[in-house]
């Protein structure tokens, strides 16, 4: 009867690998997240490659590599072609993150897994949703409603709710319940009793999260300490995710303290990132949107932070202590890696990690305790070719060009012959032309020249070469020449000319220098050399990951109390730990599948729909309890005209039922209530409440954390026969509804 739900992890279970899960709902396959790591290890994507073509929709949760990095590659190479759903910031910032990844890689290697065009085309067809927008899928997914909700981890970050037939499947990873400077906390706790919850155990073992204020103080103290002794501070950051929070903290602190040390934000896309972020106020915390509404102060108008998009600008900056936020956080590529190598051997400098580095990366290595004294780093650089190499390269290119041209012209001749052959009996004189232009596109630049004269190559067919020619006969009728009114309509394009020539081709904005880098087709090569870097600078790690800690995760899951739970994305110990915890406290159905292991979490919930007849409802008296209303019904099943089951009132008197007390008694609240009524109350030992002189009240039986699987509450009230007893019993009854 219930909706069938299967979950198959494709990557990211029992370890900290990127996230990618296949969730199939009544045969409709969702790929939720499509992550890759900073090492771009293609072996991680093998499971995905096996199912990519069967996927019907992709949902993205966060704008970082771990959650969407593999999207361009999967679209290009693995045959993924489903529509992608994401929030506007995830789309934009995700695009910028991928640009940054690509450009960082391209600088140091012959990176060929995907190109900028692949990134653009992958992100072109993302369907953008807003938070809490219920999007009804159509076609194969008819009846499924998807909606992103606030996750609180990154700007635009979402937990996804997929609903079919009133049953919810919720995907919530990397959420944060704590409100931050630029983000609101997650709304996960507003979902109650979903059929399935898919969540991560990433932080299940991590518990000692310091209070925000104290953490901020330590963070800023550490930075200023190093700046004051003349050292530089490097913060390896992600491109457009958590870095926003760090920028705000620094910006705020710098204005308060009036520091003059420069702060640089260095990624290939930093200025576009901030420009976009400035227009994403709707997605940020209440306090940020409030301050904009009342005083038009955009929090991301950064006064103390200089945005840089290439390393030269940093090198040209005035010497002296500075703070640099540079990508990538993993130190595997990007500016952060270069700067680290330059700064590592000065003990005055500080490298401040704000998140746990990905497994197997340089950042992770440096975060280990005790930190290594030396690290071996391969530094690569792209240099333009010169001298003999250049000549050799050009010769090679020319040779390729020639060969290709030759091949192309051969093909051409064949085709023109063929098309001429067919030409004779068809009346489409343009065929030759369309064929050739098509080939120009097909045969890439080099063959271009040859094709231009292609039209003049005499063909062996009997038709003499000539330009295609139309006899423009105009048709006439009684009213004169027949015209097409469309020819005289003022074209839309004319009005929008400006926009067209600006906006069109590249989807995201790229900074000029970046664009030049991207379009730079000068022959170049990558040279690598291995360095031993002495790590004498300070290494500090602080938690700015913006994820809930273990305790909050547990209480959050307990609050949501899903009927079935699927755990993903954490090392084995953490997964096992959380699994045991949830089995004991929340639900008997907790799964932690292996990669490519399909778990069936179809709910075994029975349900059927009935119509409530007007007659029945007019006799039902509801009692209000919280935001719902309850009543007892006794009814007989009948049929409506449309053959739907309908509930009618009982013909005779209903057989009496066992009375039910409905309500949730919290001993502490009840204590307050009693004392407000003038009864002396105090807690006695063992969770008992002593009311007045003689009467005691306690909860007995299994005490679950909350509701959950623990069943109805058992309350025991005892005392000697006295007035107090009846009074307190009456107060106790007033906390419940009797049905």
């Amino acid at each position: 009867m219930g909706t069938s739900v299967q979950v198959t992890p494709l990557c990211g279970v029992y370890n900290e690998n990127p996230l990618s899960y296949l969730v199939s709902i009544d045969g409709f396959n969702f790929l939720i997240d499509c992550g890759w790591n900073d090492l771009f290890d293609t072996s991680l994507l093998e499971p995905l490659s096996r199912v990519a073509s069967s996927i019907d929709a992709v949902l993205l949760s966060h704008p970082d590599t771990l959650h969407l990095g593999a999207l361009p590659y999967a679209m290009k190479q693995l045959g993924l072609s489903a529509p992608v759903y994401a929030t506007e910031p995830v789309h934009r910032l995700g695009l910028l993150t991928m640009y940054d990844q690509f450009l960082s890689r391209k600088q140091v290697s012959d990176f060929d897994l995907f190109t900028l065009d692949d990134i653009d085309s992958a992100f072109q067809n993302v369907i953008r949703l807003t938070y809490s927008q219920n999007y009804h899928l159509s076609g194969k997914g008819e009846g499924i409603v998807i909606a992103p909700h606030v996750a609180g981890h990154m700007l635009g970050g979402s937990i996804w709710r997929i609903t079919k037939d009133g049953e919810d499947v919720i995907y919530a990873v990397d959420y944060n319940h704590r409100k931050e400077r630029h983000l609101n906390g997650t709304v996960l706790q507003s979902f109650v009793r979903p059929a399935v919850l898919i969540t991560d155990a990433y932080h299940a073992l991590y518990t000692n999260q310091t209070a925000r204020q104290q953490r901020d103080k330590e963070f800023l103290d550490t930075i200023s300490k190093h700046l004051e002794v003349g050292g530089n501070v490097l913060l390896p950051v992600d491109t457009a995710g958590r870095v926003l929070e760090l920028l705000l903290i620094l910006e705020q602190h710098w204005s308060q303290r009036g520091f003059s040390f420069p702060i640089y934000f260095l990624t290939y896309v930093s200025s576009s990132t901030i420009d976009y972020v400035k227009s994403f106020l709707e997605w940020m915390s209440d306090s940020i949107s409030k301050s904009f509404e009342t005083s038009r102060d955009n929090a991301f108008l950064l006064r103390h932070v200089t945005l840089l998009i290439n390393k030269t600008d940093l090198d040209n900056a005035p010497p002296g202590p500075k703070v640099v936020l540079a990508s990538m956080a993993s130190l595997e590529a990007g500016f952060a890696r270069e700067i680290f190598v330059e700064w590592a051997n000065d003990p005055r400098n500080l490298v401040l990690f704000t998140e746990t580095g990905q497994f197997g990366t340089l950042a992770r290595m440096l975060q280990s305790a005790p930190p290594p004294k030396f690290v071996k780093v391969t530094m690569s650089k792209r240099v333009p070719l010169a001298g003999e190499e250049l000549i050799a390269y050009e010769e090679e290119q020319n040779r390729l060009k020639r060969e290709e041209a030759l091949r192309a012209s051969l093909v051409k001749e064949e085709e023109t012959k063929a098309s001429h052959g067919s030409d004779d009996n068809s009346s489409e004189p343009m065929v030759i032309d369309t064929k050739t232009t098509h080939d120009v596109v097909g045969s890439h630049g080099p063959a271009y020249k040859d094709i231009l004269i292609d039209g003049f190559v005499p063909t062996s067919s009997s038709v003499a070469p000539m330009f295609p020619f139309y006899d423009n006969t105009s048709e006439w009728d009684d009213f004169g020449e027949i015209i097409n009114p469309d020819d005289y309509v003022i074209k839309d394009e004319d009005m929008d000319r400006g926009a067209m020539h600006n906006g069109g081709d590249v989807d995201g904005r790229l900074d000029e220098a970046t664009a030049s880098l991207m379009l730079d087709t000068r022959p170049s090569k990558v040279i690598s050399n291995e360095l031993i870097v002495t790590v004498s600078c300070s290494l500090v790690k602080m938690d700015y990951e913006g994820r809930s800690d273990g305790r909050s995760i547990k209480s959050m899951i307990a609050h949501v109390s899903p009927l079935k739970l699927v755990l993903v994305h954490a090392i084995a110990e953490a997964t096992e730990h959380l699994k045991q915890h949830c089995l004991n406290n929340i639900s008997p159905y907790v799964y932690a599948p292996q990669i490519e292991e399909t778990v069936d979490v179809t709910s075994d919930l029975c349900a059927y729909k009935v119509q409530l007849s007007e007659k029945l409802m007019s006799n039902v008296i509801f009692k209000k309890l919280g935001d719902s209303e309850v009543a007892w019904v006794d009814s007989e099943v009948g049929k409506t005209e449309s053959d739907m089951r309908s509930l009618l009132p009982m013909p005779g008197a209903a057989s009496p039922h066992k009375p039910v007390l409905v309500g949730d008694l919290k001993i502490a609240d009840f204590k307050q209530f009693l004392s407000s009524k003038g009864v002396q109350v105090e807690f006695a030992g063992g969770g008992a409440l002593r009311c007045g002189e003689y009467v005691t009240l306690r909860k007995v039986g299994p005490t679950g954390q909350k509701g959950g699987a623990s069943g109805p509450q058992q309350i025991l009230i005892e005392g000697p026969l006295c007035e107090d007893y009846y009074k307190i019993r009456d107060y106790l009854y007033s906390q419940f509804y009797l049905l």
Binding site: T130, G166, N298, E629, P659, L738
Partner: protein, 693 residues
């Protein structure tokens, strides 16, 4: 449908009717333009759309008719956009009435709302008594306003609503409200034509049951956007190239930004114009520019693509102008100035100094209110009166090019044809225009399934929706799908407008509610033999079982399988039971009995005879009570021949069998009523079915 002008305050109608009646009442903008405010009520939920003031009136007279409703009963107030006639009475409504519901508007609307109203308070020169609110009220109201993003679904007290782009101005929204499956679309002001920065109004995914739609443009048709823009730029280009000046009087927000975009782009494409300055002289517009530069996401793809290169609202050829003193009037220029009606202020000052030169031009870009100078000069009089009272010849060219962003007839009719709402309510239009629109629309929907209504202010439109209530039976109760005639008993949980039926012990599984059992244990001092208690209890109660307590080995009694009586010690008896009304009563009587025993030890045993007699008496008493209650309910009740009661109501007859509770009547309504009444009386007279457990 029946439209009658019943006052809304008279709502003490029977509850069963209330469930299905939907009322829509314009409190403003009913057959008029200005002070938009539409009240809607369905199934006990009350919604107010928009909260504007009438620009032509001042003080209290400008408000919508708020006294028609009880502000404290409103659950949700939805504001479509920031214009004065849609949002300006909000501070008053929030701060000066008993309203305590929730208010929603879009992000951009909220940001501009504050600036606009603060400006409005400053500019409107009215006496203190006429001041509806001050700046402080506006600031306070900001805290109460919640924001909603386009398409985001919000639920308040079971009312679900979300909004679509309306196209009219930045942040303008159309609200779709869903109450128990009945959908109502309120368009506010909308435009189905995409312009330079705004998206066209979206076509909602679902067809609404009721569409409350604006009718400002009536049956007019707009010129195509491209022709308008071409006329606009041509006039400006030719005027400035001949050395003239162009004055564009416009309202600070909304259309002004669109015109600035056109100008900036035109200048960018015509380098020969680069030396001619463009100014916009409105401090308010200048302040709001930051909002326009930020909420790019609410605009159309064109702007978003441009934004990928540079922010189009950072103008390259246009500069702000604070006052006329900063304006160096030396050569050709283009100035956009407020107010739009040329009543006073900067636009008037410029007009006065430029109107007599025939090289100059004035372009009126939108709807002009009757009685303003702008409206007058459209008719190109020979002379005009200047602000200083003198008259001057009107030589400058005057052009009227409407950039109004209201849907015209073509847009309205296609919009409605696509949506096909069964009920259309026209608001926000001048009465005559509205009637014309109604007539013309009726010809478009000739099948007669569509009702078009044009209520005046405070005139209610009543509609009836037969909404089926569907419940989902879940959990153990649903293990077997029942057949006709089976019974279903369980807890019905209503949340918003969804119903679920479940077994009581599964309540905590499927809802946030939980059940509880309360066990009570009470000790009573008692000195004497336990056997006495047992004997006495057996006299009174039908079922008394003796047993021994497993732990202590002491004797125990179980009365009616509910209450356990135990001898705790020589001086104490304990009673233990699990709470419910019947057990509580049984235990109370046991307590009384035990107390009696200890007070007056030997007592005469009641005679059997008496018991029988009293039973008979009881029976008679019960019958009397039933009769009296029935009379009080139905009036004419007689004892029939066969011992049945005969009840007559309005000529209908019902016969009631007192024993079985069966009712015979030809009138099914009466039959049902009598049956229910008798059932309830019975349960009141004989409340405790002790036999059941």
């Amino acid at each position: 449908m029946a439209s009658s002008s019943t006052s809304l305050k008279r709502r003490e109608q029977p509850i069963s009717r209330d469930g299905d009646q939907l009322i829509v009442t314009p409190l403003g903008a009913g057959s008029e333009v200005g002070r938009s405010c539409v009240y809607m009520s369905f199934r006990g939920k009350n919604i107010l759309f928009d909260c504007g003031i009438h620009p032509a009136y001042s003080g209290m007279a400008a408000l919508p008719y708020f006294d028609e409703i009880d502000p404290s009963s409103i659950d949700v107030l939805l504001i479509t956009h920031f214009h004065i006639d849609h949002a300006a009475s909000l501070p008053y409504f929030l701060e000066k009435t008993t309203f305590n519901g929730r208010v929603f508007m879009t992000h951009a609307t909220k940001a501009i709302y504050k600036l606009l109203l603060t400006d409005y308070v400053k500019v409107s020169k009215v006496s203190v008594e006429d001041m509806l609110f001050d700046e402080q009220d506006i600031n306070k109201s900001m805290d109460k306003i919640e924001v909603i993003d386009f398409h985001q679904t919000v639920e308040v007290n079971g009312i679900k609503f979300w909004c679509y782009t309306a196209g009219h101005v930045l942040g303008a929204a159309m609200f779709m409200v869903d109450i128990a499956g009945v959908r109502i679309l309120y368009t506010g002001d909308y435009s189905r034509e995409e312009d330079r920065h705004l998206r066209a109004a979206e076509l909602p995914q679902f067809s609404p049951d009721i569409c409350i739609i604006e009718s400002t443009s009536g049956v007019q048709l707009h010129q195509s956007r491209h022709i308008r823009e071409k006329r606009f730029t041509d006039v400006i280009h030719s005027t400035v190239s001949q050395g003239g000046r162009v004055l564009i009087p416009a309202f600070a927000l909304g259309r002004a930004q669109e015109l600035l975009l056109i100008l900036d782009e035109y200048w960018a494409n015509h380098p020969d114009l680069h030396n001619i300055p463009i100014y916009y002289a409105s401090p308010l517009a200048k302040k709001c520019m930051a909002v326009y530069q930020t909420y790019i996401l609410s605009m159309n793809d064109r702007i978003r693509n441009q934004f990928a290169n540079s922010n189009p609202f950072v103008f390259k050829h246009i500069s702000p102008l604070n006052s006329i003193d900063d304006f160096n009037d030396v050569g050709p220029s283009v100035v956009m100035a407020t107010p739009g009606g040329l009543q006073s202020g900067l636009s008037r000052q410029l007009f006065d100094s430029w109107c007599s030169d025939k090289k100059n031009a004035c372009i009126i870009p939108g709807y002009m209110v009757e009685g303003t100078l702008a409206k007058t000069i459209i008719n190109e009089p020979k002379e005009v009166t200047l602000m200083n009272g003198l008259t001057a010849p009107l030589n400058m060219q005057v052009h009227y090019i409407s950039f109004s962003a209201h849907a015209d007839y073509a847009q309205t009719s296609t919009f409605l044809k696509e949506l096909m709402p069964p009920n259309i309510i026209l608001v926000h239009g001048e009465a005559n225009e509205m009637m014309r629109l109604k007539q013309k629309l009726l010809t478009e929907f000739p099948d007669g399934n569509t009702k078009i209504m044009t209520p005046k202010n405070c005139e209610s439109v009543e509609m009836y929706f037969n909404s089926e209530k569907l419940a989902k039976t879940i959990g153990r109760l649903a293990e077997k799908t029942p057949d006709v005639g089976d019974t279903v008993s369980g807890i019905l949980v209503k949340k918003g407008f969804t119903y679920q039926i479940m077994a009581p012990d599964e309540l905590h599984v499927f809802s946030q509610l939980s059940t509880a059992t309360v066990t009570q244990r009470i000790t009573i001092p008692f000195v004497g033999a336990f056997g006495v208690i047992k004997h006495r209890l057996e006299k009174i109660f039908e079922s008394v079982e003796s047993s021994t307590d497993e732990e202590s080995g002491l004797p125990a009694l179980k009365v009616h399988e509910r209450v356990t009586v135990k001898q705790e010690s020589e001086k104490h008896i304990s009673l233990q039971w699990s709470s419910d009304p019947i057990s509580d009563m049984v235990s109370d009587s046991i307590v009384a009995l035990i107390l009696n025993i200890s007070r007056e030890v030997p007592k005469i045993v009641m005679e059997e005879e008496d018991a029988v007699k009293s039973e008979e008496e009881n029976g008679k008493k019960v019958e009397k009570v039933i009769y009296a209650l029935l009379v009080s309910l139905f009036g004419d009740v007689k004892l029939g021949e066969n011992g049945k009661l005969v009840i007559r109501v309005d000529g209908n007859v019902a016969q009631l069998d007192k024993e079985s509770g069966e009712v015979e009547s030809e009138h099914s309504g009466l039959k049902e009523r009598v049956r229910v009444a008798f059932e309830r009386i019975q349960s009141a007279v004989k409340p405790i079915p002790l036999s059941a457990s």
